[in-house]
Subunit: 379 residues, 2 copies
């Protein structure tokens, strides 16, 4: 086991294995290319220009964002084709219009006549207006109108009556995170595709052009066998992967590109505990594997080179303390490491863990820190 | 119900009710003054100069920090008496020594002979050295040596052999968070006091001066009836309070000074859901009330003025979406609010929710935003 005990940098730090990230990026791009639609990566996982460029394999390109802060930041760096994939609220329309006014091809989503009217009325006098996709609920897990809901056509009728350009539909089968097994994931991908395509066909039958059919999540993008009728795929967390994705069978643990570097603070030998300096402030409070067949606690423990230490997880987290123990609960199975030894923790949920840091320490093929890439947060 | 539907600022935002915060500060200062020890507030909850000054009721003063980043920031603003209350690791000693070299009275904690040797050896040639407290475990919940552990004297002997000045002991009865009822909280406060005092007495009996006996947590500071032998009390989360503290009976819901302002994005009427733009990125993933008698989900829902909407909680959270429903699960009991209506969410855990934001929007007595106070993060 490699622990770099004495000469390590201050911890906790967020490490990014560049080779794994690049392999994840190539895998997804190849997969989407094989399926046919264009690819619009979601930048919300990484919130990093460097990572987004790796996702696109290009300096700029179409992106999906989860906040208008992300839209602002990427717009300031030459990205012009941006879909804000959270239902728009009236208090964000001034901000959205400012992005459009500076030349951004901004696409908004919404799922109600109320929101459609708010957008229509807000942009009524504008020279350029945002594009709009109607959010479709294909998995019953969150927002959107059902593909066969009469509201779909009512929303479209409101938008047809103003300058905001209705472009089609968008769906996100986040329910894929609850699937168990490859067959369930394939079925969810097909359900997502079919629901979105059906909704778009209803719009077209009612006289709307609806050229865009946007679908996506990391599991459904990787498990879809056919995306007939879909024009665009979105996905984000694949760039790093995480234990939730590994638990779903979407990746292997050694595809996970992100980890938190941490240092042993002390021990409680009689309990089998090793205390480290990565608490929930570093790992996040995400417990996304709690509902999976293998509960990884607050993260899976690896040595300083990133090799999993079989069976050891972070069983508890305070703000700046993590408690490592064997998943069996057997206190005689404990890590026997000196104070100062370095470990890495693989995250449950890359989006949540990355959000706890302001930068990535990027590792080269030798495991050395080759760069620091900034990330941003906020709204 | 006040919802400020149309003219609201962009959300999510972190709101801080200044009057409640000031009342919480006065309550704690009065309580500690009545008990006798000096007060050393913990800045880790707020990570804000403005909030810390309110805690102290003074421009500077003794503080507790959870990261050396906090120590750096406060040291740059005139704070000179700083206790870093997480066990020191060897890779942070250069940083700690730099703080001491710039004139900070920095106190470190540790709980092993290994760590004591690392500190002793690192500072061996320094003109000024940090002070050291030995961490005592008084509640069996995390780090520290037990008050009667032989290791206590072995650690002290290592420190006596070098320039790092052993000052005494420090304990944190975080186990108080698991107490149920006032009697249990009072008993935990006494257990924390007695254990720390006993450890200090053992050090003194062995010939060490040990002038400092530092204890504290918000629950034990407020429920202690006597702090005989204690010289210093630490507490932090009381400045904002939160639903975990309210669930413990340490505060009332209307003492909670922190909330997340959010906007209605849409509805799923058949499920009783109201979807809002505060997801886990705003609320954090903290589920600290999950183990309490009243589980508050991801937070308790209030109207735009902060008045609780009885029975409504955030039942699910995605990155930028929160799902509000009635805690009964009855879909006919739903909020009937337009898209764009504004709500506030009281947090489970103020430390975790505040950490998701880079500033506080400070409300005056009329509920208007009177100031923005920055906060920082990182290590």
């Amino acid at each position: 086991m490699t622990t770099n005990a004495l000469d390590a940098a201050e911890t906790p730090r967020l490490l990014l294995d560049a080779a794994r990230m690049q392999a994840n990026c190539v895998r997804m791009r190849d997969r989407v290319r094989a399926l046919g639609p264009r690819f619009r990566p979601h930048v919300k996982t990484a919130k990093s220009l460097d990572v987004t460029r790796a996702m696109l394999g290009a300096p700029t390109g179409p992106i999906t964002v989860s906040t208008l802060r992300e839209a602002d930041t990427f717009a300031s760096h030459g990205f012009t084709d941006i879909t804000y994939a959270v239902g728009i609220t009236p208090n964000k329309l001034a901000h959205a219009r400012a992005l459009v006014a500076r030349g951004i091809d901004l696409t908004l989503i919404l799922d109600s006549v109320e929101a459609a009217r708010a957008v229509r009325d807000a942009v009524a006098g504008d020279a350029r207006a945002p594009q709009v996709l109607i959010e479709i609920d294909t998995d019953d897990h969150r927002a959107g109108v059902r593909p066969d809901d009469p509201a779909l056509l009512a929303i479209a009728a409101v938008l047809a009556d103003g300058p905001a350009r209705l472009q089609g539909v968008l769906t996100h089968a986040g329910g894929a995170y609850d699937c168990r097994g490859d067959d369930a994931l394939r079925a969810m991908a097909e359900q997502e595709r079919a629901g979105a395509v059906h909704a778009a066909q209803r719009l077209r039958a009612a006289g709307h052009a609806a050229p865009v059919v946007s679908v996506g999540s990391t599991p459904t993008a990787l498990f879809a066998r056919d995306l007939g009728g879909v024009t665009e795929v979105r996905a984000g967390v694949y760039v790093f992967f995480d234990l939730v994705m590994a638990g779903l069978g979407v990746c292997a643990a050694d595809d996970i590109a992100l980890s938190v570097e941490t240092t042993v603070v002390g021990h409680r030998a009689e309990k089998g505990w090793t205390l480290v300096d990565a608490g929930w402030m570093a790992l996040s409070r995400d417990r996304g594997t709690a509902g999976q067949p293998v509960d990884q606690g607050y993260g899976l423990v690896c040595d300083a080179r990133g090799r999993p230490l079989d069976g050891f997880i972070v069983v508890a987290a305070n703000q700046e303390h993590g408690t490592i123990a064997h998943r069996s609960g057997d206190p005689t199975r404990r890590l026997d490491l000196p104070v100062g030894a370095v470990l890495r923790i693989l995250p449950n949920h890359a989006c949540a863990t990355a959000a706890q840091f302001d930068r990535y320490h990027v590792l080269d093929a030798q495991g050395a820190v080759a760069a620091q890439w900034p990330r941003f947060g906020g709204w």
